[in-house]
């Protein structure tokens, strides 16, 4: 999956499921502080990622994901690892 498609998919579910505004979704946006994604939202992120991208996220992986760019990169890496 191309990076552009990953970004589109992530942005789409953040807008649809998490009710965020498109203009909030800049790569530097901090997930917790700017987008106000709380600890319970991370539980739902695991469910959505499994549905949209087909892999299971470990809760501890979120520790290194600070902003949206980290999030896009993480999904890209996991998809590449799955493909191999």
């Amino acid at each position: 999956m191309e990076k552009k498609e990953i970004i589109e998919k992530v942005d789409e579910f953040l807008i649809d499921e998490f009710e965020l505004e498109a203009e909030q979704l800049v790569p530097s946006a901090n997930l917790k502080e700017t987008l106000e994604i709380d600890s319970l939202d991370y539980v739902d992120l695991v469910v959505i990622i499994e549905k949209k991208f087909g892999f299971k996220v470990k809760g501890e992986d979120f520790a290194t994901i600070k902003n949206l760019q980290d999030f896009y990169d993480y999904i890209e890496e996991r998809l590449k690892a799955t493909a191999q």
């Binding site: 998490f18 319970l40 695991v46 499994e50």
Partner: protein
Amino acid sequence: MKRVVITGLGIYSTIGKTIDEVKNSLYEGRSGIGFDPVRKEMGFRSGLTGILERPNLKGLLKRRQRVGIAEEGEYAYMATVDALAQAKVDQDYLDKNVVGILYGNDSSAKAVVESHEVLKAKKDTALIGSGGIFQSMNSTITMSLSTIFRLKGINLTVSAACASGSHAIGLAYQLIKSGLEETIICGGGQEVNADSMGSFDGLGAFSTYEEDPQKACRPFDKTRNGLVPSGGAATLIVESFESAQKRGAPILGEIIGYGFSSNGDHISVPNIEGPTRAMKMALNMADIKSSGLDYINAHATATPVGDQNEAEAIANIVSNNNTPVSSTKSMTGHEMWMGGASEIIYSLIMMHNDFVAPNINFSEPDEHSKKINIATKTLKSHNIDTFLSNSFGFGGTNSAIIVKKFK
């Protein structure tokens, strides 16, 4: 002891989603019952059910607030918004004052089933999602509403089978009467989905008059053959007279008696003694004689033994047998955990509009129901100063509430 009054009503039911809609349904004897073919495909003995669509809360509540709310919580939210508005309680008031919640609920089966289905399919609890646990618990309504409305008083779910909503109001009455709370959001909520009703259907307790659903539920009638499951939610704002007066809130009625008892008997078969004791206790607390009752809203669900024993219990306490009795379940079906609260609202609507709603689908009494005065048609121009509402549940839990016009 403080006087306890009702200042707001809200309802989301099969016979209406506003007080005005419900008033018209009650007056016209309109049924909210239908047939659900999916239940037959699932293996139900009866496909009869109350028909109620779920509200769309998107835009009304934030995502986090919606994720934890179960079906019955959605109904309860809608009913509570209306009740608070009528009581003139806004969010600013809730933020600055101690307001509690006591709500009746005794299941949240669909959320349990859905979580279990995900676990069976995925074999990973992390894929159930964050809402599953909050939606699965009996206290799902109180946990959601107390966080949505930022409540700071008592926060408690009352689980007492089909008397849950009635006990919630009775307990609120006691807490306010004794000065422990000033204002409590009370009510009862009931899921309607098929997943939650299968085990009850399995007891053979549901009516099988499927050919004409609106005529299926026949409380007190000789030909009754079971209840019809239904649901929704009903909310009442209960508060001290002093608080209502200070706020300039409308006073819709005064709670003057709450009787309760346990049958100490069979788990599903009611008796006569337990309900009789609850009604007598309510009358004693209200300090009135049964002749002072202008209307009795019966629990009568249309099961053969339940109605028989309630008719005998009512005949025991009503000396002259002239007091009109009706079961609004003939129209709504059995609203179970919600029923004890909704039926206080139905009775208050009758009180405010001078009529008694009919016990529809009644054509012939049996040897027990002939002992009481059943309102088979709408009693127009019937003044109600004081009414009693009965609610009984599995395990032999009984609740009787008496409300009178505020004077």
